[in-house]
């Protein structure tokens, strides 16, 4: 890419950047320690706000001058709340599972004193002689952070932090290059859309650029509706400017005048942080009229979704932006040609846009050198479920499922056995152990019946029932179906009823064939991605875990001991300890009472099967067990 230097743009940007750098340096040159705390939604759920309050309170109480900064999510969600302390003379040290008590000690003993409280250390951010660094973690061998690099390292509400770390340099560079060259650069990088479908981004930009009609729109699809996925949330909360920068570049490349960032209503913090970021960008003339004194004008508005999964589908999203119910319509014409208000509209996922600045900055060849033959770059996964290191992971395309789950995620907790991984949300499928060595890219998983999708990965172990999980997904898609196409509206309902019967132990063996047949019909007869992929979880579980379906139907037994109608809790009299009353006290419905010998007995009539007693029974006794079918309980 050859830059024909445009002095006005270059100098406007230099001025903004040098002011930001001065501000950033002020933070570090004062000689004060700096405390950073992750307060993204995952941190907040773990209690980060209380820790933040304690840190601020303690710093004030001790008359210290050190700044306490809120940052985003580093991806180690299992270790939240996380605090990073930068103290001159020490490496930057990261602390995990911080609670208000530990926070107080950190301030008193490390900031005020000189004891880095090694017992709470998670890892250092850089190599040093004092504590192991995050780079020494086994997962570091597999991870390659591109779009997650800033996450957890900068304050997402401070545009200066972003600017000082190379932010908006790609925009300044792009504005000095003809738009068609930007499109060409993205095309040559072979970036494919990260929303799930994997359509080549450069090609989409080219189509939209060529399409007649004005004004054109650029839309960032942040309607991350897949339950179990939170990559886009983390990026919008931790590094919102990277998405905005990518979007402005996209707008410039296709000649758009307006943009929308569509964020789910369930992500209030992402909404807030994107809102703040937009305001800051506008103030510095990185957004709005004549951006950086160029002749390109582009403005972005944030649009809050209202809780409809189907709005992740681009045509439904358009309907929603136009103030209508989110019901998809037929394509073609594709939105790139005829979209919002009938004008050419470019749709890109949050992650896709976050890659743009890196491609412009490092060049297409750099990006294309990462990943596999047909899928370039890195992939971001949200690891959740029965895995030790839940959180975010960014790895090069082509990494195998086994590496992601066992090396990055450190495997299954509690010594349990891996059963399946649910990948791609309600549109994806459940893959068994035998598929673990498949490299993950856009195309590799489709033969196995799943898809990479947007990157949600839920790990399931031996305690998870595969019939129940497919029922769960179908219940979700059935409820979220907009109702336009009959096969989707009624087919998913019929399938759900069959699955409901099976988990209640009332299924019949011919249901299994009915399910497969209906699945094919729903797929064939639906207009949008929701219906086309809704049966995937059922199809993959039928393919790989048919024996579980059969056990439910033929024996009334749930092999994973999960389906509540098919199990019973039972206290083994020979193991129950007479002096212990742990289960009696925790039972939420008072269904457990001691008998004459003080052996505890569960009243099966009262029991709601919540499992609290099983958790409460001390491990040295381990007297509570689950039995299936319930008739196994001795009378």
């Amino acid at each position: 890419m050859k830059i024909a230097e445009m002095p006005a743009i270059a100098s406007a940007f230099r001025e903004i950047k040098s002011r930001a750098e001065a501000h950033w340096r002020e933070l570090w040159d004062s000689g004060q320690p700096v405390i950073m705390i992750s307060t993204a939604t995952c941190g907040r759920a773990a209690g980060a706000l209380e820790v933040l309050q304690t840190l601020r309170g303690e710093v004030k109480k001790q008359n210290l001058n050190c700044p306490v900064i809120e940052v985003g999510c580093m991806g180690h969600c299992y270790a939240e709340p996380m605090v990073i302390i930068y103290k001159p003379g020490y490496p930057a040290i990261c602390y995990a599972h911080v609670n208000p008590v530990i926070a107080e000690r950190l301030v008193k003993e490390f900031i005020l004193g000189d004891d880095p409280c090694l017992e709470f250390v998670f890892g250092a951010l850089e190599e040093n002689d004092l504590v192991p660094s995050l780079a020494d973690f086994p997962r570091a061998n597999y991870e390659k952070k591109v779009i997650l690099k800033n996450c957890g390292q900068i304050d997402p509400t401070e545009i200066d932090h972003y600017l000082a770390n190379g932010g908006y340099a790609s925009l300044a560079k792009a504005l000095q290059v003809p738009a068609e060259e930007i499109v060409d650069e993205v095309r040559r990088s072979e970036l494919r859309g990260r929303g799930g479908a994997g359509f080549p981004t450069g090609q989409k930009w080219e189509i939209c650029r060529q399409a007649p009609g004005k004004p054109k729109y650029a839309i960032c699809n942040g309607d991350e509706g897949d339950p179990g996925a939170f990559m886009d949330r983390a990026i919008m909360e931790s590094d919102p400017h990277s998405v905005i920068e990518g979007m402005i570049i996209a707008g410039y490349a296709i000649g758009a005048r307006y943009g929308y960032i569509y964020v789910r209503a369930e992500y209030p913090l992402a909404v807030e942080r994107v809102q703040v970021a937009l305001r800051q960008a506008r103030k510095l003339n990185l957004l709005g009229k004549s951006i950086l004194d160029s002749d390109f004008s582009f403005d972005i508005r944030l649009f809050q979704g209202s809780g409809a999964f189907v709005c992740g589908e681009e045509t439904a999203l358009i309907a929603s932006l136009e103030g209508k119910p989110g019901i998809p319509y037929h394509r073609p014409p594709y939105p790139a040609v005829k979209g919002l208000y009938g004008k050419p509209t470019l749709f890109n996922n949050v992650k896709t846009l976050a890659y743009i600045r890196h491609i412009i900055n490092h060049g297409a060849e750099w990006f294309a050198s990462i990943g596999t033959e047909r899928s370039k770059g890195t992939a971001v996964f949200a690891l959740a479920g029965k895995v030790v290191n839940t959180g975010l992971a960014e790895v090069p395309m082509g990494t195998t499922l086994r590496q992601v789950i066992f090396d990055v995620g450190s495997g299954i907790p509690g010594g349990k056995r891996f059963k399946a991984v649910q990948i791609g949300g309600p549109s994806g499928g459940c893959l068994p152990e035998s598929a673990l060595d498949l490299p993950i890219d856009f195309d590799s998983l489709s033969d196995a019946g799943a898809m990479m999708g947007s990157g949600g990965m839920v790990v399931l172990d031996e305690d998870d029932c595969m019939v129940e999980i497919s029922r769960y997904f179908l219940e979700f898609t059935q409820r979220e179906s907009c109702g336009k196409c009959t096969p989707c509206r009624l087919g998913t309902k019929q399938m759900l009823e069959a699955l409901d019967d099976i988990v209640l132990g009332q299924g019949r063996i011919e249901y299994l064939n009915t399910l497969s047949e209906l699945a094919e019909e729903v797929k064939a007869g639906s207009l949008c991605g929701l219906g086309k992929t809704a049966p995937n979880p059922v199809l993959t579980t039928l393919r790989y875990f048919r024996d579980e379906y059969e056990a439910h139907i033929k024996e009334g037994r749930c092999p994973a001991l999960m389906c509540r109608e098919l199990i019973a809790y039972y206290i083994l009299p020979e193991k129950c300890e007479r002096s212990c009353d742990a289960c009696v006290g925790t039972c939420t419905v008072e269904a457990i009472t001691p008998d004459k010998k003080r052996i505890k007995v569960i009243d099966q009539e009262k029991c709601v099967k919540c499992g609290t007693c099983l958790d409460a029974c001390p491990p040295q006794y381990n007297a509570v067990i689950k039995l299936s079918p319930p008739s196994e309980v001795p009378k």
Partner: protein, 164 residues
């Protein structure tokens, strides 16, 4: 509340232009103020945007976020995302139902609590999650449900005492 609805709605409408595309943002603002969308407010909005009343109603009933009945003082949202479900979110939901003696989408008779589910709030690593008054709380199992309710009760007791 319903008597005030038209005025409150009018206040909010002043900040918007009469474009159909503003319908959802308007509904969100009005619900943010009133807590729900009473009929009077919807009629006001339809008139403002010059669209049939039924169009407003169809949008309100299509999206999960909008509610037609007044909320409770405290909102309880049980997350039923994949991870939460597999870690027992449905058991947590049952516990809430049992303790509050109401079903999904209902409000307690004393208007203290309303109970609903949410598709996924994106803190799957803290599963099972319940969002209590906009604050996501991690690892909410049946015993923690009792704990949260106890905390509210204690809070209320303290306030009554102060009031006396």
């Amino acid at each position: 509340m319903t008597e005030l609805a038209p005025q409150e709605t009018k206040q909010i409408l002043k900040k918007f232009s009469r474009k159909r595309g503003n319908l959802i943002p308007i509904l969100q603002k009005v619900q943010g103020r009133l807590g729900y969308l009473p009929r009077e407010a919807m009629l006001e909005i339809a008139e403002f945007l010059n669209i049939p009343d039924i169009d407003v109603y169809s949008v309100v009933t299509f999206y999960n976020q909008f509610r037609l009945t007044p909320p409770g003082r405290h909102s309880i949202r049980v997350c039923l995302g994949t991870a939460c479900h597999m870690k027992g979110g449905y058991i947590t939901l049952d516990a809430w139902k049992r303790r509050l003696a109401i079903g999904r989408g209902e409000t307690t008779p004393d208007r203290e609590f309303d109970l609903d589910t949410v598709a996924c709030v994106g803190c799957c690593t803290m599963a099972p999650v319940t969002v209590v008054d906009d604050k996501p709380q991690g690892k909410v199992e049946p015993t923690k449900v009792d704990g949260i309710l106890l905390a509210f009760e204690w809070e209320r007791g303290k306030k009554t005492k102060e009031g006396q």
